[in-house]
């Protein structure tokens, strides 16, 4: 009847002056006023005014925040349910209400309402269906009846304009909602019932039960071209047969929605969650490998997808950082990265890596012939090419003469170990054996850290690494 949930004075309405200070923007006889009155009374009766956040839609009820003395957010057209998710997860104690019309909810906002309903998060949706677009001036709504004239169906809606969308039935077909009902406002009995339904939908949120949806069949006398009383009759006689009233779904005795957590800000927990540790990896290198470059060494590891070039590159980067140097790894993009090939660029710098790309690598590790053909000529003079001699028969002709080659049978060694997957670790071993960029133990430590979750794989990887290092080392010495 009366409630303090409405502002005493609608100050946001034309500065709250004169008659506007106490009158809504709704046309005479509009059902919005009733639905909002019932909603205000429910908020009042449940004592949740302070906790309530009302999400206003776009449409005739866009100005709901003029009237409701609660926290208010005005949402973009159709997006109220998504905005409501933001509010509800921001403060699980808040009582979040989406008040939406048929254009907002059933047309432009279909994806948001369906996905939010299916999520089942405890919010309350009041859906006002008056079968027409009010604010924009009487255009077809998704709920407009077949034969109904609107300004965009001037001869009446035909099947070519689609059939009226039955939102309560659609929403009730989802798993998420706990309560879906369609109510009306056209006589005393329906109004009393509508009031109860709206209150129930709100109670279910207060109790944390779940998502509740009340579709309210409402009158738009102005755009129906009817007097308010005739508009009530029109809803009863024309809308109700298409949009039957009643409870469409009620699973309120089932399991409640999970408790939405309230965020914690414990420093230790935050650091642990992002993977930070106090474990300082041991260092084995005595100095920066200046025998390769005084301050910045670049590597390219190139193969096909599945060769494990990226993992090997990552272990190399980890090894360098563990030794206290700067290092970067990027999976290589560019036109050459098409067709299932996989290239990795790694830099190891004494102080800071500048460019992370390796257009002229000191060291190339090639897992196949095309990679060697492509990148071999880019290796800088005095550089090193380590390649899989199981699949590449001989040193290509176009390599610069001052580039050394170290053939190691990555695939063959891995096959002998009975684990084809470890050929990249054989390659990594070969890289270490041929370059001595860091001691063996640096790499083995990084390999163990990488395989922390798969401890059983550590011995075979260590063996693969050592074999690769040995085979390459013998050639270099």
């Amino acid at each position: 009847m009366s409630t303090s949930v409405f502002y005493h004075q609608f100050e946001r309405h034309a500065n709250g002056e004169g008659v506007n200070a106490h009158s809504t923007t709704y046309c005479p006889g509009c059902g919005h006023g009733l639905a909002q009155k019932f909603l205000a009374e429910a908020i009042n009766e449940l004592g949740v005014q302070d906790r309530t956040v009302l999400v206003s839609p776009v449409g005739c009820s866009v100005f709901s925040y003029y009237y409701f003395d609660v926290g208010n957010t005005q949402a973009p057209h159709g997006r109220a349910p998504a905005v409501a998710i933001g509010h509800k997860t921001a403060n699980p104690d808040s009582i979040v209400i989406c008040y939406q019309g048929d254009g907002d909810l059933a047309s432009i906002g279909l994806a948001e309402i369906v996905s939010t309903a299916q999520l089942g998060i405890p919010i309350t949706v009041i859906f006002v269906n008056n079968a027409i677009y009010g604010m924009t001036g009487g255009q077809m709504a998704p709920t407009t009846l077949i034969g109904q004239r609107t300004t965009t169906t001037p001869k009446g809606r035909t099947l070519l304009a689609g059939q009226p969308l039955k939102m309560a039935e659609l929403i009730s077909g989802l798993d998420g909602p706990v309560y879906v009902e369609r109510v009306a406002l056209y006589d005393n009995r329906r109004r009393t019932h509508a009031k109860r339904s709206i209150k129930k939908a709100l109670e279910l949120q207060v109790a944390g039960t779940g998502f509740a949806f009340v579709e309210v069949l409402s009158e738009c006398p102005v755009h129906l071209g009817l007097e308010p009383e005739a508009a009530e009759d029109w809803v009863r006689d024309n809308m109700v047969p298409i949009f039957p009233l009643g409870v469409k779904k009620d699973t309120t005795d089932g399991a409640a929605f999970p408790v939405i957590p309230t965020a914690r800000f414990d420093p230790e927990a935050a650091l642990t969650a992002v993977g930070a540790t106090t474990e300082r990896p041991p260092r084995f290198a005595e100095e920066f490998p200046t025998h390769i470059d005084p301050e910045d060494i670049s590597f390219k590891l190139a193969g096909s997808g599945g060769d494990g070039a990226q993992t090997a590159a990552m272990i190399l980067t980890r090894s360098a950082i563990n030794e206290g140097y700067d290092s970067t790894h990027i999976p290589s993009y560019g036109p050459e990265s098409r067709g299932g090939t996989s290239y990795a660029d790694v830099h190891v710098a004494l102080k800071e890596v500048m460019s992370p790309a390796a257009p002229r690598p000191h060291v190339l590790v090639a897992f196949n012939a095309p990679s060697l053909a492509k990148f071999g000529p880019t290796v800088r003079p005095g550089g090193l090419v380590i390649y899989d001699s199981s699949v590449i028969s001989a040193r290509p002709d176009d390599l610069a003469t001052e580039v050394r080659t170290v053939p190691v049978p990555f695939t063959g060694v891995a096959a002998e170990l009975g684990a084809a997957l470890v050929k990249n670790v054989v390659a990594l071993g070969a890289l270490q054996g041929a370059t001595k960029v860091f001691p063996e133990e640096t790499f083995l430590t990084a390999i163990r850290a990488t395989l922390k979750q798969k401890c059983a794989m550590i011995p075979i990887n260590e063996e693969a690494f050592k074999l690769g290092a040995k085979l390459a080392g013998e050639q270099v010495c």
Partner: protein, 464 residues
């Protein structure tokens, strides 16, 4: 019930009755009739009450669509506004004054550096900046951020929600940001395009949030290679209206973390979204990332629609039907943009002290440019790098001080000249006549290479 006799009967203030007559049919005692006289205040014909038969059933109250239409008798006394002419006096909202709940800076114990990808580093920065609400829709090459948040946030009782679309994503942020929470998303170019509607609303309603856009090749679906072709969008096209947001362009995984933390500070300082742009290369780049020694435990801003007693009077809204009112709001927003322009320009200068040729680049191209500079310096050329960290506002003040000596500007970018346009606009607004300007550009998911930069510089007439 013996209290029937006490049930209140209705009264009506004619000015608040729109004469819809819905109460007339609700009354079983025929107490209500349509009036005959037009109310001069409203131009409408209000109903007339004859309560001689009224039994106080109250059905008419539930039939009246107006909050202050038919009302129970007895409320007149409390309802001090019977006379519309008296409503003009000041009458503040009942809602209380929000209590300040400021952010707190919490010390962090020392930890070893992380070895992580750029996108991951941004996510870590966000967590340490107090972000516990992340919404997102998977799109390559930004998905690692969402994946990390989906794993990490539950451990901190935070929330990660995979939305039905980028459109829903940005609106979840509008809700959570409007509630005063630090929230963010990771997306990539096509997804960012979809978020523009919501970003315009957020700027209009002054809602802070952080968007990390790992730019990929476009237009359209394009490809997933690295490009910088959203610069125009983030600097000049954040949805409809007079919009701007601070745009930050990190260049290394470390900076992804540092800038993610800074972004939240700036977003809340100005009550405005902040956009972090990276390129696919940077997002995928693994490097060493040192952790800060402090983290943030956010409070609740006074303006937030948090959903509690203290914040009940607040409104998050971008609608303003009064043209003058909306103009005023735009003036207010523009003043913010001007403050951002004055206070938030950030740039990194690399070997600029004696530079005669200045490369201008951001994100990974800036790192490639550094690599090129090293080689060009070895050849004895005085080349430096001017790296805008804020793309908007463009750090023109830092650049201006260098221009006396600079004989040539070379913009290195992975777009058709969008960074160069920002540079030229900034120079023009600052009334600076720049030295000759040329560029190294790639498009389509390719970054300019170090060699292309070197080749371009060696071909300049200033060098030949």
């Amino acid at each position: 019930m013996t209290r029937v006799a006490e049930r209140p009967k209705p009264f009506v203030v004619p000015e608040y009755c729109k004469g819809c007559g819905r109460c007339i049919t609700s009354c079983t005692k025929a107490c209500i009739t349509m009036g005959t006289e037009i109310n001069p205040e409203t131009g409408l014909i209000p109903i007339v009450l004859d309560l001689s038969q009224c039994n106080g059933c109250g059905l008419c109250f539930d039939a009246c669509p107006e909050p202050y239409g038919l009302r129970p008798q007895g409320e007149e006394a409390a309802f001090e506004l019977l006379d519309p002419s008296t409503v003009l006096g000041p009458r503040p909202f009942d809602a209380p004054q929000p209590e300040p709940r400021p952010d707190t800076s919490v010390p962090l114990p020392e930890r070893e550096p992380l070895i992580v990808k750029g996108t991951y580093a941004a996510a870590v920065g966000a967590v340490l900046a107090g972000c516990r609400h992340v919404f997102g829709y998977p799109i390559t090459p930004s998905t690692e951020g969402a994946e990390l948040m989906a794993r990490v946030l539950p451990e901190l009782d935070g929330v990660f929600i995979q939305a039905v679309s980028e459109v829903a994503t940005v609106n979840m942020m509008y809700g959570a940001g409007g509630a005063g929470k630090r929230c963010m998303t990771f997306t990539s170019s096509p997804g960012f395009s979809l978020m523009l509607e919501g970003i315009s609303y957020m700027i209009g309603a002054e809602v802070p949030a952080v968007f990390v856009n790992v730019m990929r090749g476009g237009p359209g679906l394009g490809n997933i290679g690295p490009e910088q072709a959203d610069i125009k969008l983030v600097c000049r096209g954040l949805g409809h209206g007079n919009t701007h947001a601070i745009v930050l362009a990190p260049a290394t995984p470390q900076e992804m973390l540092d800038i993610a933390m800074l972004s939240f500070e700036l977003a809340f300082k100005y009550r405005n979204p902040v956009v972090v742009v990276g390129d696919g290369y940077l997002g995928q780049m693994t490097g060493k990332v040192r952790l800060p020694r402090r983290m943030v435990e956010p409070g609740i801003p006074e303006w937030a629609v948090f959903g509690d007693h203290s914040h009940r009077g607040n409104l998050i809204c971008s609608l303003n039907l009064s043209e003058l009112g909306l103009e005023q709001h735009n003036v207010h927003l523009n003043e913010k943009y001007e403050r951002m322009t004055a206070e938030e320009q950030r740039a990194d200068l690399y070997r600029c002290d004696d530079a005669e040729i200045l490369l201008v680049a951001c994100n990974t191209p800036a790192q490639l440019a550094k690599g090129a500079i090293k080689e060009l310096r070895d050849k004895g050329l005085k080349v430096g790098l001017f790296r805008p960290i804020t793309l908007w506002p463009f750090p023109i003040e830092a650049l201006r001080t260098l221009l006396d000596r600079v004989k040539r500007l070379v913009v290195v970018e992975a777009s058709s000249g969008q960074l160069e346009d920002e540079l030229r606009l900034a120079l023009s607004h600052a009334d600076v006549l720049p030295p000759p300007l040329s560029h190294v550009r790639r498009m389509g998911g390719i970054l300019p290479s170090q060699d292309e930069i070197i080749e371009h510089v060696l071909g300049l007439e200033e060098v030949r």
